[in-house]
Every structure is written in C-alpha cells, then in structure tokens.
Symmetry: C2
C-alpha cells in the first residue's frame, strides 16, 4: 500500500467508445481485477484534474488518445473498514485508433462489442453492471468558469447536467 | 496544509433542499469562501464513503440530519499547479428541520430561497453557477452491488444514471 496516498484514495477511469460502439477494455495482470476485462483506470496524481487522470491512464495502458466528454458516474467504497476508495468514471472521445498495450501491467487491451463483453465470463462485475445500465446518462463538462483569484486554482472544471441545457 | 492529505484532495459537499425548495447554506469563517454563502462541505475521512462525508459535514456544520439521494456533480481542479483538488456534490434529503450552527467554523447556516441566494452579493461563485443551472439533473444512488470478495470492500456504492431506468 502506497503511504503517500494515505487512507483516502481517488482514482479515475475512462470509458472510450469507438465509432462502431465498441468499448475500450483492458485485462490487468494484478489486483482484484487480474484477468478480468475492466476499464483503463488508475490513481490521480498531484497537478492533474480527475478527467486528465482518466485520459492519461487510457493513453498509458492502451496507447489511445482521448478527450473528456462527460462524467458517467462515481464508485465510492471503503476497503477493510478503513480506506476510503473512490473512482470517477468519465466518458472519453477517442482521438486515435491504434492500440498499444502496456504489457508490464496488462495481458491485453481491445475494443470489444457490448455483446462480446456481456458474454465473456471474464468481464468484471462493475463493467457488467454498466453494460446492463446502458444507455448511460452523464453529467456534461463545463469549462471556463473562473472561481475567483482567492482560491489559487490554476485549472478548474465542473461536471453537471441540467434538464434546461438539454432542451 | 495537511501533510496527511498529500497533494491529491477529495472532498464532499451536500445540497439539502427542504420542503419549501430552500437550500441549506453556510457562511464559513475561513478560506476563499470566507463570508460567502456556500454548501456544507469538507474533506473525506478514512473509513467513510464520499456520500457519508457529505452527510457528516452537513450534520457537523448545521445540525441537520440528511441521507444521500443522488450525485449532482463534480468539481475538479488544480491549485497552484500541484494540488489535485476534487469535490463531489451530493443531493441530500433532509431528515430534520432545526439548524444548529457550528460557530467555531461558521458565521451562519440557513435555509434560503433560490431567489434570496441569487440576489445576495455574498453568494459564492460555484453556488451562483448551480443556481443558474437549476433544475439540476443527477446520477442516482445504486446500492447493494457486491463487487466480489477479492476486493475486500466493507462498503460499496455506485452513482450512475440510465435513461432506461427513468422510463
């Protein structure tokens, strides 16, 4: 366990969907997700926003360039009664097509159809849950708000959705 | 700056709306929000989920009991180029009515109408932004999923929304 991280964790995952409606998934070599199809994900680093962490993890694990579109959801939980473990899941738009698998950490990375993932016994529980919820709603990216100089923000973004905006 | 927290922060805020449509807001005595109406909020602690942190902060700051209903949104940013500062904002349902102000940290706590908050020059920028977005959509609480024993979760919740679920 990484002591730098303390007992409150925040991670980001990216769901990249290509023009054929296929989902970009990875098979990790470690952790509870070992050998299971799951979303590219990892811990947020100092100096980056949550959505930037999702974009970076997708790039590092799969070689795919992507940009944030919306917030799909949040997973929050507690591990062993003491670690607050949180993950925000972003919808990302792919900007490239060629997968380069990060073989140190992953067995595989691929764009797979929703049917293929639903029928594969090695699809992770969370991914299976998301496939059953599809089509997923989301909260839109709001960029450009200046929260005010006293806060010292050098980057700032919001994810919210309003029914009014959809009309 | 709290070193335990490192350079990746995660906080939770709660929006409690009463039966008159009034928003529960507080005026902090410190930080960039000093003297501004803002939502009860604070850092997540080890052993608690994000939504539990929102409920706890509302209780500590205002005395109001509440329960989580939905995820309204996410604020993510970077402070001074190095601190990843993140906050999830939950919609909470009030379970009590009597406000008890935490006077060590706050000048005031009150249920105020949206019009009152919009007209008050001391309403925070983020709160003003949310008031303009109203009515806000949200991602629903999904409880009861078992992610699998290998993960060691003692608590686990998801916030997602599907158009299918609304029908």
């Amino acid at each position: 366990m990484d002591n730098k991280r303390g007992n409150v964790w925040i991670a980001a995952a990216g769901l990249v969907i290509n023009e054929n409606g296929e989902w970009l998934v990875v098979k990790k070599k470690y952790s509870g997700l070992k050998g299971k199809w799951s979303l590219p994900a990892g811990f947020v680093q100092p100096g980056e926003m949550l959505d930037e962490a999702a974009v970076r993890e997708v790039k590092e694990e799969t070689g795919i360039d992507a940009e944030p579109v919306a917030l799909l959801g949040l997973r929050t939980g507690v591990i062993a009664g003491e670690i607050s473990d949180n993950m925000a899941i972003f919808l990302l738009r792919p900007l490239s097509r060629d997968i380069v698998v990060q073989t140190d950490e992953l067995y595989a990375a691929a764009f797979l159809s929703k049917t293929a993932l639903q029928n594969d016994p090695n699809t992770s529980g969370l991914l299976r849950y998301l496939l059953a919820l599809e089509p997923l709603d989301s909260l839109s990216l709001h960029d450009g708000l200046n929260p005010g100089d006293p806060f010292g923000y050098t980057k700032y973004r919001l994810y919210f959705e309003s029914s009014k905006l959809k009309e």
